[in-house]
C-alpha cells in the first residue's frame, strides 16, 4: 500500500527542496494514495499562502506559451516558480497526452522552476481537490509563485476558482461567439483578462469589448478586472501582464480581502473533502449492508422514491 520510505523523512525532503521527493508526493496526491496523507498533514503548517496565479481559457489561445513567458519574466527577477499544467484525460481510455511542457524553454539546470503536467482524470471535483493539494506541496517546497494552467470549460473553471489567488482568463482576438458563451462562466471569475496573440488584427476590438464587460460587471470586493494585450510571438505585454497580476495580489493585501477569499476557499475544500469521504462511506455501506441494499430494490420496484431512500440511508448511518 504505502511506500517503504518513512513518512517524516519524505515531508522533510520536500521542504528541503528535494525535487524527486516532491514529484513522488504529487503522484501520491494524484493517485489518492494513503501515503500522501501524512505528508500533506505534516507540511500544511509550513505553507505560506504564496500567490497562486491561475490561467484559464479556451484551447489554443496560448496559455502554455504565456506560462513560459511569465516563467522567463519571473526568473529574470530571481523569483522561483512552480507550474502545474492540467490537460484533459480521455473519457474513453483514461489516458492523456500532456503537451504543455513543450513550451517550457528554460535551461535544464535552472532549479528555480518546477514544472508538472497533470491529467484531469475525469472525476468531477477530483481535479480541484488534487490541484489544491499539489499547489500546497509546491508552496511547502518553497516556490515564490505558483502558476496553474487549466483548460477553460466546465468543471475546470471551478478548479481555478478554488485554487488561484489571482485568476487570469486568456482570450484571443476574433473569438466572436465563443466570447458570448464564456460570459456566464469564466468571465465572472477573471481578475485579469489577457488578450493574447495581440499581434493579430482585431486585438483592439477584443480589448474594447472586454473593457465594456469589465465596466458593467459587478465588483463586489472593489477590484475592477484589468485587460492586458500580449503576444508571445512578437513578443510584448508580458511585463504588463505580470504587473496586472501583481496589482491584484497587492489589492488583496491592501483591501484586506485576501484573508476572506482564503477563508472561503478553505471552507469549500473542507466541505469537498468531507463530502468525498461521506460519499465513499455511504457507497460502502450500501454494498455491505443487505438491509440497505433492499432500499435499492424498493426504489427499483417503485415502492420507495429515491429521496426517501436517501433519508433512510442517512438515518442508518447516524445510528451507528
Amino acid at each position: 500500500m504505502t511506500r517503504a520510505t518513512p513518512l517524516p523523512a519524505r515531508a522533510r525532503a520536500i521542504a528541503n527542496g528535494d525535487r524527486a521527493a516532491l514529484a513522488r508526493a504529487i503522484s501520491d496526491v494524484e493517485n489518492g494514495a494513503p501515503a500522501a496523507e501524512p505528508i500533506l498533514r505534516a507540511l500544511y503548517p509550513r505553507t505560506r499562502g504564496v500567490p497562486v496565479v491561475g490561467l484559464a481559457g479556451p484551447l489554443g489561445v496560448g496559455k502554455s506559451s504565456l506560462i513560459n513567458a511569465l516563467v522567463g519574466h519571473l526568473r529574470a527577477a530571481g523569483t522561483t516558480v512552480g507550474v502545474v499544467a492540467v490537460d484533459p484525460s480521455s473519457p474513453f481510455s483514461g489516458g492523456s497526452v500532456l503537451g504543455d511542457r513543450i513550451r517550457l524553454d528554460r535551461p535544464a539546470d535552472d532549479r528555480g522552476v518546477y514544472f508538472r503536467s497533470m491529467a484531469s482524470r475525469g472525476a468531477a471535483g477530483g481535479i480541484a481537490t488534487a490541484s489544491r493539494e499539489v499547489v500546497r506541496l509546491l508552496d511547502a517546497a518553497g516556490f515564490d509563485v505558483i502558476l496553474v494552467e487549466t483548460v477553460g470549460s466546465g468543471q475546470v473553471d471551478i478548479a481555478i476558482r478554488d485554487v488561484a489567488t489571482t485568476r487570469v482568463v486568456v482570450l484571443v482576438p476574433h473569438l466572436g461567439d465563443e466570447v458570448q458563451t464564456l460570459k456566464a462562466g469564466l468571465f465572472e471569475i477573471a481578475d485579469v483578462f489577457c488578450v493574447n496573440k495581440s499581434d493579430l488584427p482585431g486585438a483592439d476590438h477584443a480589448e474594447r469589448d472586454l473593457a465594456e464587460l469589465a465596466a458593467l460587471g459587478p465588483a463586489p470586493d472593489g477590484w475592477r478586472s484589468r485587460i492586458v494585450r500580449t503576444s508571445t510571438l512578437a513578443p510584448f505585454g508580458i511585463d504588463r501582464l505580470w504587473a496586472a497580476i501583481a496589482a491584484h495580489e497587492a489589492f488583496l493585501d491592501t483591501s484586506g480581502t485576501r484573508a476572506a477569499a482564503e477563508r472561503r476557499r478553505l471552507a469549500r475544500e473542507i466541505v469537498d473533502r468531507a463530502s468525498d469521504r461521506l460519499a465513499h462511506d455511504l457507497t460502502e455501506r450500501m454494498e455491505r449492508d443487505p438491509a440497505l441494499r433492499r432500499l435499492v430494490d424498493r426504489v427499483v420496484a417503485r415502492t420507495l422514491d429515491p429521496r426517501s431512500a436517501a433519508d433512510r440511508l442517512l438515518v442508518a448511518r447516524s445510528r451507528r
Binding site: 514529484a23 503522484s27 493517485n31 481510455s93 483514461g94 489516458g95 497526452v97 513543450i102 508538472r116
Partner: protein, 140 residues
C-alpha cells in the same frame, strides 16, 4: 532509494522525448497517441531535447518510463548520455525504450548499456504498447 513502482495505483506515466536535432517527430507523436489510447498519461516533451532536459523532465513528472525517438543518427552520442545522467541524478531505475533508425550493431550496444527495447521502422504499435506496459509495470 528503491521505490515500489508496481504498487502505484494511478495510470502509467511515460515521457516521450526527441533528443538531438532532427525534426522528424511523426513517429514519436504516433507512439504518444497509441500509449494514450492504452490508458497511459503521456508527457510529450517534443523536439530537440537535450539529455539534461529529458532527465529533468523525467524527475519532475515522476514518470514510470521514458521513450526516446531519434532519426538523426546521433543515438550513440545521446542515448548513453541520457542513461548516464539517469544513473547519476535519479535515485530509482526508470526503464528506457527507444525508436528510430538505429543499425543492429548500435542497437546491440545500446541494449548492453541499458536501453530496454528498441523499435525500428515497421514495428507495430501493439508491440510497442505491450512492451511499454511490461517495462513500466514489470512482468504480469
Amino acid at each position: 532509494m528503491p521505490r515500489a513502482t508496481k504498487q502505484r495505483r494511478g495510470p502509467i506515466r511515460v515521457l516521450i522525448a526527441k533528443p538531438g536535432l532532427d525534426g522528424h517527430d511523426r513517429g514519436a507523436k504516433v507512439v504518444a497517441r497509441a500509449l494514450r489510447d492504452a490508458g497511459m498519461e503521456v508527457i510529450y516533451a517534443g523536439l530537440r531535447q537535450t539529455p539534461e532536459e529529458i532527465v529533468r523532465a523525467a524527475v519532475e513528472e515522476d514518470v514510470d518510463l521514458i521513450g526516446l525517438s531519434i532519426l538523426s543518427g546521433a543515438h550513440m552520442a545521446l542515448f548513453p548520455r541520457v542513461l548516464k545522467l539517469l544513473k547519476e541524478q535519479v535515485g530509482r531505475r526508470i526503464p528506457v525504450f527507444a525508436g528510430g533508425i538505429i543499425p543492429d550493431e548500435d542497437a546491440r550496444r545500446l541494449r548492453q548499456l541499458g536501453i530496454q527495447a528498441i523499435f525500428g521502422p515497421g514495428a507495430s504499435l501493439d508491440e510497442i504498447v505491450k512492451t511499454a506496459t511490461r517495462l513500466a509495470r514489470g512482468p504480469a
